[in-house]
Subunit: 221 residues, 2 copies
């Protein structure tokens, strides 16, 4: 379940249209320093998103409105899986080209799953999709990327989580996303490889090679 | 004119359907080192794109096919404008959040212009769009980003270009994109601010503030 589904599960029905989801590339420490930050506010009822947008926006915090709650949530959750993948590549010093490719094809599979769940494709081009993904994958503050880095350097998940802590939520998200994708019949090649590396079923090097040698295809398939 | 338009201008008509455009996040030095690299091949006739795809692909170089030639070209050209914008922000040490926001909203305006020129929106989610943009904006090898960094630190364009060289093509692309957008009636707020900073009409700090305090809107407008 995504967070708005959890909230709908516990709140009375008349509150449901008022759930507004904030997401985007936003390290809290930078907001506290009043550095420029731009995020998306999504609500099923556009009027509530616009109302919160007017309340929260100021010269260093700019909000865009959206009505695609599920799309905004899926981008925010699944970016952590791709951050692990990028960490695994960086841990093997695979270079900038492959990092950009993992993030781009990672967003393509997040988009496939999101659209299958009813999200709007263009949401993934936005702040909660591409924006949050690139912050998490290239900023050094992400725990999920640190988990991937250690996996790429050949360490085992149990000892990594003892060090990083259990709050690297991408590990659980990877398994949940793979189960969800299987149920919905969506192909998530990168997430699938991350799951195999996490669960010790495949080495990081073999996972990278498997992704590079898949059947050739059109970019929009 | 984009490169395929230049080629069509000089080649006989029977060659036109065979022009295949390669683009994506690909620093040449990494390809030479056989580090994993993934790119897009676009041709009006899909069969030619697929033929070149089969010829060039190998375990460290993976090609996706596309029929959206203009979309692939627009992404490759306009990313240099956003790289200057990101450099201007980094030169003022504006943080990771604003860098992610500039890249995301930068891709949104590239997409608007491209779609207006007949490109497919989903191309900009791909390797020649988001992929190339993030490589150029976060890798340190880009001359355009270096031009932006120096502008953000308060230096003047003439002295910067003497040092970096005239091959920072984003400077010319910025002016061309702004002219094109005006003719087509497309709003390019970030490119417009970059042009003003380049031409000494606005300070980097004022340009950033102007972007943050524009009228609030929906993310997909």
């Amino acid at each position: 379940m995504t967070m708005h589904q959890v909230l709908e599960d516990v709140l009375p029905a008349d509150h449901h249209p008022r759930i507004v989801c904030l997401s985007g590339p936003a390290f809290a420490v930078e907001i506290a320093q009043r550095l420029p930050t731009v995020v998306t506010l999504a609500c099923r009822e556009e009027a509530y998103a616009i109302s919160v947008q007017a309340t929260l926006s100021c010269p260093w915090f700019r909000c865009y409105s959206s009505t695609d709650v599920i799309g905004v949530e899926i981008g925010g959750a699944l970016k952590n899986v791709i951050a692990i993948a990028v960490g695994i590549g960086d841990g093997q010093t695979q270079g900038f080209n492959s990092r950009a490719a993992l993030m781009t094809r990672g967003l393509a599979e997040i988009t496939r799953l999101g659209v299958r769940m009813g999200a709007n494709r263009s949401t993934f081009l936005g702040l909660s999709g591409m924006g949050d993904l690139l912050l998490t994958c290239t900023g050094d503050l992400s725990r999920n990327r640190r988990v991937g880095l250690a996996l790429g350097q050949g360490r085992e998940l149990t000892s990594i989580l003892e060090e990083v802590g259990q709050v690297a939520e991408g590990v659980q998200t990877t398994r949940a996303a793979c189960q969800l994708a299987e149920r919905l019949g969506v192909d998530l090649p990168i997430s699938g490889m991350v799951r195999k590396v996490i669960d010790g079923e495949m080495s990081p090097a073999d996972a990278g090679l498997a992704l590079m040698t898949r059947q050739l295809r059109s970019e929009t398939d």
